[in-house]
């Protein structure tokens, strides 16, 4: 492997030299436009051809990919992307200079590759971090070449041009940080505080979001607008529930009550199984995975776990229902009541009987009280008898 200090060729020149069909590249650009319908300068164009021209002029961005406490699922989502396929991605579009799972080198050779890649592209490369970083006990729970992951990240990030945390683990800890968090796992932005970190949460996230951010940086040197959780707004502005293909079933009140029941087979709403869609911001419901329609959790009948939200996935139990923040009308209607205020004959009869009974009871009760004259005579009688008994008692 030789490392040149020459600037990388543009994407267009490289694709031409390698004989990649223009049609494939245009298809890739179309996918990118779908993934970033707004908020990304390179895709805010009228046609895929314009996007292709824009990306074609970019120098192939150098990407260094670090793995920490992860399952490699985020890499897998890139591998399973069919347009462009993996070979295209690595060799033609981006320059993936270091990736532990995909590189041929190992051991000392791999370490040398990392240091060389960092040195050659210092200040320019895009650092992609996958997996959370253990911080407990000085980070001894994960080591690369004898050094804690914590230190490796700090060293490489110091040289990086842009830092992207891919997946929920790198964004804020993910599965390794779930209670009781034995390794003290945290996300990248807990450790790298002097540089902006772009979070691409998801388990896994959509790979086109990553490519969009990388190309934006390579072409314009800028980063997309971020929300309060440092997620790119162009990819995380939508609420799953608002764009869900099963939304009609929610509005009609047709819910799956149990896995495999009739509603589940008919593709009804998964809310009552604990679907976190109403509280989750992500583009999954409109940008499915692997460019295959309906390949995403809800599409295959599994409730959303809210993996793009810090407070949901791996924090809230799977079957717990989330509150509906912005309730909308169902597709049922209240009936017109035209009979309000009418008085029916049986009703009048019942009320009259009850009223009469109460009145009669009151009258009978009243008769039982002693009359005023009776009371007065009793008092007088008592008075006289008491004076007779105690004739010497002083009058009070």
């Amino acid at each position: 492997m030789t490392w040149s200090r020459k600037p990388k060729p543009t994407v267009a020149a490289h694709l031409k030299r390698c004989g990649v069909p223009r049609r494939d590249f245009l298809q890739f650009c179309t996918q990118l436009m779908v993934a970033a319908p707004w908020g990304l300068a390179i895709t805010e164009k009228a046609t895929a051809a314009e996007v292709a021209r824009e990306i074609g002029q970019a120098r192939r961005p150098s990407v260094i990919w670090l793995h920490f406490q992860d399952c490699t699922g985020c890499s897998e989502t890139l591998l399973r992307t069919s347009k462009p396929d993996l070979a295209d991605l690595i060799l033609h579009v981006i320059s993936l200079d270091y990736h532990e799972t995909l590189m041929a080198a190992c051991g000392h050779q791999a370490e040398a590759a990392l240091s060389q890649a960092v040195r050659n592209n210092a200040g320019k490369f895009v650092l992609v971090v996958e997996g959370s970083i253990p911080t407990k006990d000085q980070g001894i729970y994960m080591k690369l070449a004898g050094r804690p992951a914590l230190n490796v990240l700090q060293d490489v990030a110091a040289q990086a041009g842009a830092i992207i945390a891919i997946g929920s683990c790198a964004s804020w800890g993910g599965i390794p940080s779930a209670d009781p968090n034995p390794t003290g796992a945290v996300g990248v932005d807990e450790i790298i505080r002097n540089k902006p970190v772009i979070n691409l949460p998801g388990c896994p996230p959509n790979p086109y979001t990553l490519l969009g951010v990388v190309f934006q940086y390579a072409r314009k040197g800028t980063l997309p607008e971020l929300d309060e959780l440092h997620r790119p707004k162009f990819a995380y502005d939508r609420v799953i529930h608002d764009h869900c293909p099963r939304r009609a079933h929610f509005d009609a009140g047709r819910f799956v009550m149990q896995y495999g029941d009739e509603g589940h087979r008919h593709g009804w709403c998964l809310y009552k199984l604990g679907c976190k869609g109403p509280d989750t911001h992500a583009g999954c419901s409109t940008r499915h995975f692997n460019e295959i329609p309906d390949v995403w959790p809800i599409g295959i009948g599994a409730p959303c776990i809210g993996c793009t939200e810090k407070h949901l996935a791996f924090r809230v139990p799977l079957f717990e229902q989330v509150p509906i923040h912005d309730a909308t009308p169902p597709d049922t209607y209240p009936p017109v009541h035209t009979t309000t205020g009418s008085i029916s004959a049986p009703g009048v009869a019942v009320v009259s009987v009850i009223g009469g009974a109460l009145g009669g009871a009151a009258w009978v009760a009243a008769r039982r009280f002693r009359s005023e004259e009776e009371t007065a005579s009793i008092i007088k009688a008592n008075l006289q008898s008491s004076q007779k008994d105690n004739p010497n008692e002083e009058v009070r």
């Binding site: 509005d251 009140g253 509906i324 909308t328 009308p329 049922t332 209607y333 209240p334 017109v336």
Partner: protein, 307 residues
């Protein structure tokens, strides 16, 4: 049988209040015998044949009026059963059991030309705008007596049952939006223009044009609200009988005109206050009589009475 000065004063006051109130009511009433007609009444025209029941107006109304979503039905949907403290506008469905045509109906304040609620309101918390004729509501004057709720023939004003200091909730045809130059939220979002906003005269004209163009389409070929109870500023066209979609037959006479003396005796809560005053004076009288009796008894027997 002596009256203390305190007792004498109380007796005088308790008897004078009802008399004063009874005298004050007709005086206050005389000033507002006939409400002046608004200069340029605006309103809405709802055409039930165009409504598709999308409920965009229901959501827009709740948003524009900052109303909390009424999710009391299932905790998931904004699904009010009727107009209520959280719902100023609602779409209902009339679905007959036989095969006769069904219809949606939008319900909100009708903004009557001579409103019963305004006549019933004891403290003028409800009032009719002189310029555009809309029935507005002033929260600082509302005491939550619910007179308007009972007076309204369309069951529009609703009571805030879940509040400690409850008041009334009612459509004001988006008064703040109109003041800013926007049209009401419900008309602005209607995708089929089933409900439109404009001057009442124009809307009436438009409605009659529609009836002329399709003579067999509309029920009785007439506009509901043109003459009903003196006329309303919200007009309805429908292909099903108006009574079926909750619009009652009210005749042409305004409701306040029918309630000549009733509306007076409730102004400034006169009748209830009068009743309480009479009760209080009776109680006072009984109390004084009883006390006199006790003093008499004490003087006669030389002992303090036991009762």
């Amino acid at each position: 049988m002596e009256l203390t000065r305190r007792e004498a004063l109380l007796g005088v006051v308790s008897r004078c209040v009802p008399v004063a109130a009874a005298l004050a009511v007709p005086a206050a009433e005389a000033a507002e015998e006939t409400p002046s007609q608004p200069k340029a009444p605006v309103g809405m025209l709802y055409d039930a044949t165009l409504c598709i029941g999308c409920k965009a107006c229901v959501v827009a109304c709740a948003e524009a009026n900052d109303l909390p979503r009424d999710v009391s039905l299932d905790g998931l949907h904004q699904a009010p059963e009727d107009l209520n403290a959280f719902t100023k506008n609602i779409i209902k469905l009339y679905k007959p059991t036989d095969n006769s045509p069904d219809s949606f109906v939008k319900q909100q304040c009708m903004h009557c030309l001579d409103p019963a609620c305004v006549a019933a309101c004891p403290f003028k918390a409800l009032w009719k705008n002189d310029a555009n004729g809309l029935v507005a509501w002033e929260p600082s004057r509302c005491i939550g007596c619910r007179y308007c709720e009972i007076a309204c023939p369309y069951h529009v004003p609703k009571f805030e049952w879940d509040r400690i200091n409850p008041k009334i909730v009612k459509c004001e045809l988006c008064r703040p939006r109109l003041a800013k130059g926007y049209e009401p939220a419900c008309t602005s979002v209607c995708p089929t223009h089933a409900v439109i906003f404009g001057p009442r005269e124009d809307l009436l004209h438009k409605a009659k044009e529609r009836i002329e163009q399709s003579p067999n389409k509309y029920f009785e070929n007439r506009v509901y609200g043109e003459h009903e109870a003196g006329g309303t500023q919200v007009l309805y066209l429908s292909h099903v009988p108006f009574e079926d979609i909750g619009l009652p037959s009210l005749g042409t006479e305004p409701i306040p005109a029918r309630l000549k003396w009733q509306k007076r005796i409730y102004k400034f809560l006169a009748l209830p206050l009068l009743m309480y005053a009479v009760l209080a004076s009776v109680m006072k009288k009984n109390w004084i009589d009883h006390r006199k009796e006790m003093l008499e008894e004490e003087r006669r027997t030389g002992l303090r009475p036991q009762l």
